[in-house]
């Protein structure tokens, strides 16, 4: 029976390398670190997942990338007619279409990112059960892949601003920070929902309603000035209020007299978004060890 060795002669032992990466596999206990270093190491895969999502999104559609423009424009037209013309929602000194569009821009980004990251883990079951990578990059990629749509929709905004003769101000430079807040909020809630979705598919059904109701409590189709002063603090619990109002202020501030620059309530919005983000990441990491078993 010694013939087996005959077939495989002595192996060439590879040169010992100075640093051999070592993986230790053990049952995890207690709360885990967020593994941010591992996420960074896998940034190329994250990049590929984002690239894949973007590339696939409008595949086999006749209108292709035009959908990116159509979606916010169509909702703007519908809202302008319903709320601007029929219901006469006050939009201050600016025409209602651009009043609505300036808010729809961050809102649409937020809504699609939240929905994508919430369903991302379940939709990536085929990857999760077959290959290792830090699971956090899945919901993160869901939030990042919406940025291209946002950028294209932003170009439409520039055209509209030119049309309505609204010049940008220095406040426009704050937009990236506001966008970051929208991303953090979407990712924070997305992490919670994505992890819950693995066990409870109810989340899939819940998300459309959640987003719809959330839009109504956020001053997207109306201005927060419509809300009595004593309830304003309640609205600030919703970080998206700060984002949407901030966008309006930064873009249309010179024409919109009652647009408020970000104040203490905005700081509260940031705080809440961060709490949700960090707790979401911890919850996600804590539950991810069972993803492959139950997804």
């Amino acid at each position: 029976m010694g013939d087996c060795e005959m077939r495989n002669p002595e192996f060439a032992i590879p040169n010992p390398q100075s640093a051999i990466p070592t993986v230790v596999i053990e049952p995890s206990r207690g709360w885990l670190s967020l593994q941010l270093r591992a996420v960074w190491e896998y940034r190329e895969l994250l990049g590929f997942l984002v690239w894949r999502d973007v590339k696939v999104r409008y595949k086999q559609t006749a209108l292709g990338v035009l959908w990116v423009v159509l979606q916010p424009v169509v909702s703007m037209v519908v809202f302008s007619f319903l709320f601007g013309t029929l219901l006469q929602v006050p939009s201050g000194e600016v025409p209602y279409p651009i009043f609505a569009y300036a808010a729809l821009l961050p809102w649409n980004y937020f809504a699609s990112s939240l929905s994508r990251s919430s369903t991302s883990v379940v939709n990536s079951a085929h990857l999760i059960t077959k290959i290792y990578f830090p699971r956090l990059i899945i919901p993160i990629s869901g939030v990042l892949s919406g940025l291209l749509d946002f950028a294209i929709a932003f170009l439409v905004l520039i055209v509209m601003m030119a049309y309505f003769g609204i010049a940008p101000t220095w406040a426009t430079l704050l937009l990236p920070a506001l966008l970051l807040l929208a991303m953090a909020t979407a990712l924070g809630f997305g992490l919670w929902l994505a992890a819950l979705n693995v066990r409870f598919r109810d989340i899939n059904y819940l998300i459309p309603y959640l987003i719809q109701i959330w839009m109504y409590v956020t001053p997207v189709i109306y201005g927060s000035t419509l809300i009595p002063e004593r309830f304003r603090w309640l609205m600030a619990l919703n970080p998206m209020t700060g984002v949407v109002e901030g966008f309006r202020w930064a873009l249309l501030g010179q024409r919109l007299a009652d647009a408020q620059p970000p104040g203490p309530l905005f700081v509260a919005s940031i705080g809440i978004a961060l709490v949700v983000l960090v707790s979401g990441a911890i919850f996600f990491r804590h539950t991810e060890r069972t993803f492959a078993d139950i997804v």
Binding site: D3, F11, P21, E26, P27, I128, A292, D293
Partner: protein, 447 residues
């Protein structure tokens, strides 16, 4: 630096099963269960006791650097669970494992492929998913394309590929990974023979380059060909480890203990029909040339066989067939009284059919033994399933052929030529008959 690449210590994985009525898959169920729980606890109802199942228990082994280890076992033995834990897809419940070196794992062909994207895009995507750097993929892109043989369709979405093209492209990406430790699960189960051979060659190439491989397969020939050590798993535990041949022998013993009848009939034959058959195959034995009971033959040895039959009623003119399959399922040859014109009037009660086979010049490896009883003239193993059903069909484990100097690259069997002659314009340079004993005796490799 230690020379151990993979060290596994007391690894265990527990799954919670059962409680089918109380699985909380929807929020409503969870809420209901939550509401009921205190009430049930008050009543002292312990139906909630969770049933647990250890898919893996106390598994320990080591794989040396540059060694290829095969993992075999029946379905549900815990092989895949082991690989999932080592791949860090799921966590162990107990124990610990250490892997030294860059790990790549192949649990399926085409991980990370997206049907809407083109072949070109998928090479990058799948490469990145399997752990390659973008620069590495770009560097080896042409090699990958050449290996896959799908150049012409590189800009076609892979959803329009044939399954063969898809598998080839997917494997081409995987084959160009440059890991130090490779974990492979049954990837070879897909694809045709050519493809399987390409995979095996690639794995041999990797081990020669010092890559450590852990390889799960049901293909005993592949395990034997590619691995220097093997472990046998059963019931979530390692029950044997060492030389692949002895571990495979152990596996055969294990496989014989479970009823082969159930395994085969459930899958291949109509059970209803078989329960009415008037004959059963109760045993099979193989003897070496010296008359000892064996399942190990030397290359070129002529074994004898005994088939035990039990006929509940008179079965007229049975055709009793012994079929030999290679362990990867390829049908090799068969022997039957019908082929050879040995007519049996009838069988009734207990009887035994003895046969002396010719020298089996099968390439060393592992072979399955199938025994079938047919109505006279009904056909043979080849067209069994389409046309007539055999009365019974059972697998009786494996036998192995040992010998040196030949391997699967020489084909399935090797029979010497009768005569060789070398000529040129000036006449016969040399010629020779092949001696009789080379035809009947054991193979001696030249030199």
């Amino acid at each position: 630096m230690s020379d151990i690449a993979i060290r596994v210590e007391n690894l265990g994985k527990m799954y919670r099963i059962g409680r089918a009525r109380e699985r909380r898959d929807t929020l409503r169920d969870a809420l209901m269960a939550g509401l009921r729980a205190p009430w049930e606890r008050l009543r002292g109802d312990d139906r909630r006791e969770e049933e647990t199942f250890w898919a893996l228990k106390d598994v320990s082994f080591e794989v040396k650097r540059g060694e290829a280890m095969g993992v075999i076992g029946r379905n549900g033995a815990g092989k895949s669970t082991l690989l999932k834990i080592l791949s860090r897809i799921t966590e162990p419940t107990t124990g610990r494992a250490e892997i030294h070196g860059r790990v790549a794992s192949l649990l399926e062909v085409g991980t990370g492929f997206h049907p809407e994207l083109t072949g070109r895009d998928n090479i990058y995507l799948s490469g990145a998913t399997l752990g390659m750097k973008r620069a590495d993929i770009a560097r080896r892109f042409d090699e990958i394309v050449a290996f896959s043989e799908v150049e012409r369709f590189l800009d076609t979405p892979v959803k329009r590929y044939s399954s063969g093209m898809y598998v080839r492209l997917a494997f081409a990406v995987a084959a160009h990974l440059e890991p130090e430790v490779l974990l492979v699960d049954e990837v070879l189960a897909v694809g045709d023979m050519m493809f399987q051979r390409k995979c095996l060659q690639r794995m041999q190439h990797l081990t020669e380059g010092g890559v450590t491989i852990l390889f799960i397969s049901h293909n005993m020939a592949a395990i034997q060909g590619a691995c220097r050590v093997a472990v046998l798993m059963d019931g979530g535990q390692v029950v044997a480890k060492g030389n692949p041949i002895s571990v495979i022998e152990e596996f055969q013993r294990l496989a014989q203990n479970e009823s082969p009848r159930q395994a085969l009939q459930a899958k291949d034959l109509n059970i209803e029909e078989c329960s009415q058959v008037p004959v059963r195959i109760t045993g099979f034995a193989m003897y070496a040339e010296d008359g000892t009971l064996t399942r190990t033959l030397r290359f070129g040895e002529a074994p004898s066989v005994r088939i035990d039959l039990l006929a509940h009623e008179k079965v007229c003119a049975p055709a009793i067939q012994l079929g030999v399959r290679r362990s990867d399922g390829v049908k090799i040859c068969s022997y039957s009284n019908w082929h050879d014109g040995f007519k049996i009037e009838y069988i009734e009660g207990e009887c035994h059919l003895y046969g002396r086979l010719p020298p089996l010049r099968l390439i060393p490896g592992l072979y399955e033994i199938h025994v079938l009883v047919w109505p006279w003239g009904a056909g043979h193993l080849g067209d069994a399933l389409e046309q007539t059903q055999p009365y019974v069909w059972e697998q009786f484990g494996y036998f192995q052929v040992i010998g040196i100097g030949l391997n699967e690259h020489d084909g399935v069997f090797q029979i010497p030529a009768m005569h060789w002659a070398l000529t040129s314009d000036s006449g016969v340079l040399s010629s020779g008959d092949i001696p009789e004993d080379a035809i009947h005796g054991a193979f001696t490799p030249p030199g």
